[in-house]
Symmetry: C2
Subunit: 521 residues, 2 copies
């Protein structure tokens, strides 16, 4: 066994995963080498790409037992393509598929049956919503451990060759017969298809799946025909209504407003609310409330920001259109206002996940980010954050861009209610380490702000600010006082997940919680 830098025990090898490289620090693994070679393939004049349907595409792509099949998650909880393709794969008798879907949502409930009968034996994901598939994995139904990556880790793995994709299925709101795709037009417009760019560039075969076939050329083109082998038309790739995150609403309850206010004032006191500032926030209500306060500060003071980054929502679009941001860098649209903006604002730009957050990229935009607001299911006294499992060990998320932006941003603020029901969010050790504490600068709650002691400069900057700065152990004590005694979840020794840090090292392992029973609903 090895111990990694956040203190987790790891074996040297994991069956169905391979050699384990232990996490050695947020910036310990730098690279200077050569990317893997992408597929090179000639297409002659007149060669046809348009096929009769999903089945023919599966046949032509040579998809067979043991292969890795990829999808992107821009339709989020409205997606229909993953189920459609995987059910056809199942109907053809193909088994042992590694499902490299950048995101899995509640709508993917039909996959549980395919996991149970061995069609899908492993998942590789960077976005996960609580739901049937997460529960099935928690219940140990996957034959091989689930692999959790980050938004930047996935393109890193693809470019380095660590994640080889045999067949990529790209959902395209509009597409022409040659495979030129666009995400911002059509009846199922979902916004930019950013997460699929690397899949399309590196997969051995690429299938464009569309419900809106348009005449060639499908301009403006987002993913060009040079990456596409086959085009398939289906009735519907999904319901754009499912794109909108349930949580996408500024919270106005007093606790959320207190947290938001603490977070915005912290960023201000630390000097990050200024001309040229950049900002990223998730879609949680408290984060959005903080963004709203930041917006007010900017307007009041006439501040012109640089860029907003990540999942883009109506609040950021508004800030772009008000001139508070010069640009938006978009990896996915979180609502339909963002989709519309992507189709019309030239400074609302698509970026690949590699450009967004790949640690082994020469221009990763997270490295130019000033402030990011992130969530947590748990945080520990070393500031390590968990967003993958609940304190009961049940899988309920994935890193997304959490670890990436935490590492890149100059100021990384985790916001959370100190307690949730009988749970105190601050733990001695988090159940699962997603993001290492060395990359978290502050933890902001309704009961005060804990600053990572590693950030002496930040402690110095805010010392006279009047902000409620407290030690994280004080927050822990306070939380336990409110939530009551914390019961430690026990685990079996069945490994159900491998958590990769963005650089491909292993930061933690997920074991099956004792006594967990799968319930589909």
């Amino acid at each position: 066994m090895m111990i990694n830098k956040v203190g987790r025990s790891l074996p040297e090898q994991i069956e169905h995963y391979g050699k384990v490289t232990p996490y050695a620090g947020a910036f310990a693994t730098q690279k200077d080498g050569v990317k893997t070679g992408a597929r090179l393939k000639s297409f002659k004049r007149g060669e046809k790409k348009l096929l009769s349907g999903i089945r023919e595409a599966i046949e032509k792509s040579g998809l067979r037992d043991g292969m890795t099949v990829s999808f992107h998650h821009h339709m989020r909880n409205g997606d229909k393509v993953v189920n459609l393709v995987m059910q056809e794969i199942a109907a053809m008798g193909i088994k042992d598929i590694r499902l490299a879907a950048s995101g899995i949502f509640e709508c993917h409930a039909p996959l549980v049956e395919l996991i149970e009968n061995g069609v899908i034996t492993q998942t590789v994901t960077n976005t996960f919503n609580p739901g049937p598939v997460a529960k099935a994995i928690t219940a140990g139904k996957l034959a091989k451990p689930a692999i959790f990556m980050t938004h930047g880790g996935r393109p890193r793995a693809i470019e380095s060759g660590d994640l080889h994709i045999d067949v990529a299925f790209v959902s395209a709101p509009t597409c022409d017969e040659q495979g030129n795709m666009n995400g911002t037009k059509g009846k199922s417009a979902c916004g930019y298809l950013s997460y699929s760019y690397l899949d399309a560039q590196y997969a051995d075969s690429v299938v464009a799946v569309t419900d809106t076939l348009v005449p060639y050329p499908n301009c403006p083109i987002e993913i060009t025909s040079e990456f596409v082998d086959y085009v398939v038309v289906v009735d519907s790739i999904g319901d754009p209504g499912g794109i909108v995150s349930k949580t996408l609403k500024v919270k106005t309850d007093p606790v959320s407003l207190q947290i938001a206010s603490n977070a915005a004032n912290l960023a201000d006191a630390a000097g990050y609310i200024k001309d040229g500032m950049s900002f990223q926030t998730g879609a949680s209500g408290a984060s959005l409330a903080a963004a709203a306060l930041v917006r007010d500060m900017m307007k009041e003071r006439g501040i012109k920001g640089s860029f907003g980054l990540g999942g883009i929502h109506s609040y950021f679009v508004q800030m772009l259109e008000e001139g508070l941001f010069k640009a938006l860098f978009d990896t996915q649209c979180f609502d339909l206002v963002a989709v519309e903006s992507a189709g019309k604002n030239e400074n609302h730009m698509a970026i690949s996940a590699s450009l967004y957050a790949n640690p082994h990229n020469r221009g990763a935009i997270v490295n130019y980010l000033d402030t990011v607001l992130l969530g947590a299911t748990e945080i520990d006294v070393d500031f390590n954050v968990n967003v993958i499992t609940g304190s009961n060990g049940v899988i309920m998320g994935a890193s997304g861009g959490h670890s990436d932006t935490a590492a890149g941003s100059k100021l990384t603020i985790v916001v959370a209610n100190l307690t949730r029901k009988a749970i105190c969010v601050v733990r001695e050790k988090v159940t699962t380490v997603t993001t290492p504490g060395e990359t978290i600068d502050a933890f902001v709650t309704e009961h005060g702000i804990a600053i990572n002691p590693l950030r002496k400069d930040l402690l110095e900057a805010v010392k006279d600010s009047g902000l409620p700065i407290v030690d994280i152990r004080e927050l822990k004590a306070k939380g336990e006082e409110i939530a009551g005694p914390q019961v430690a979840q026990e685990f079996t020794d069945k490994l159900i997940g491998v958590v990769e840090y963005r650089d491909g090292t292993v930061i933690d392992l997920v074991y099956q919680p004792k006594g967990y029973e799968f319930q589909q609903q």
Copy 2:
């Protein structure tokens, strides 16, 4: 010695070139494999890219004797960056550089001295204008044979690893400190930087050279920071006034109009003037005159075309804005109207040279092209075309997209005056084969139209059209009658150039003409 499919004798090996694969037919070399791996490099947060100048960039990039250095040619005859960088390389005492400049123009006269003193020992180009460098190569001044590629052959060579670039210098009309570049803005706006995309993606080091540094992020971004190692600011990257091709003017003399009319009527008779049509034309006066006639036909008949392709000029912009084309696919701007359009019309799209014309690309747009009009310095009775040398053996051009579009397009028309001074354009054998006759469908002159006998369908389609269809040998006889007896140029056995077909095979060799004396002016 080997004989290739157009009858040229080739050695099996060429010193300073390597193994020779003989041209075996326009579509004989298909590929299904893996691209070469591009550079993979981490950049940490806070790492600086902005350097003090060209010299520091040369030092930091590790540029040394024997390396390959690349440039793109969007500033055309207004470019200043090639001279600036190469003179700095010379000043540093570095020698034996392979200059992989996508285009060389008259403005690059200072390179002659660098060729003479061994700083530059080989050139790899796909665009060449008559001028001092072409003359110096003709005079045998390069230590190693010049390599002539096509617009599609160059990205093929880069993607396959045949052309490895050590350091790419990308001229950027606007750029930010992280290397995000845009070609359509700034005082030196030259239009899209398409030819440099592959250089930026695959070179070991990439240096952005700009005269207009703008705040981060330089949106909309054309080449992103992920491909850029260093940023350098210079006084001027060039004079946009030099972009405009001298020939870019519709010709109105009776001979040109006759040729244009024959060409447009041929395309019409062959059925390619119709809804959904696509079209490419070079910048020669007769081609533009033909384009003007095609435009008139489209307007008269209410035809809606699909796309215009290649070098984009004001005539194509007008057709886009009139709705005659749905889209323009742009590899370079031929005038400032095109530059302006590139910055504002969303359906005026940049395409990489690989997407444009690479024969080993899954979506090369030349393969969807209906009609292309091309020029020639010579054409022979087998319809082989020469655009590289004059009949006197002097280098005066390069393929550009000639061979690529000829192979891809459904109808490839070569237009030329039958005679130029005492030269008959039709030869028994062309001096240098650039584009194989099997990909040329018709040769249009003021004295009639010769159709390639391989295109039986085309001969059938036009037989009742009333067009002046003649045998190419008749044109040859007529031309010789007008121009007088043709004197065959004699050549020394000094090899000065290797002409690659787009697939990387060797289609011809260029030897030094006997009795040629270099004159700078």
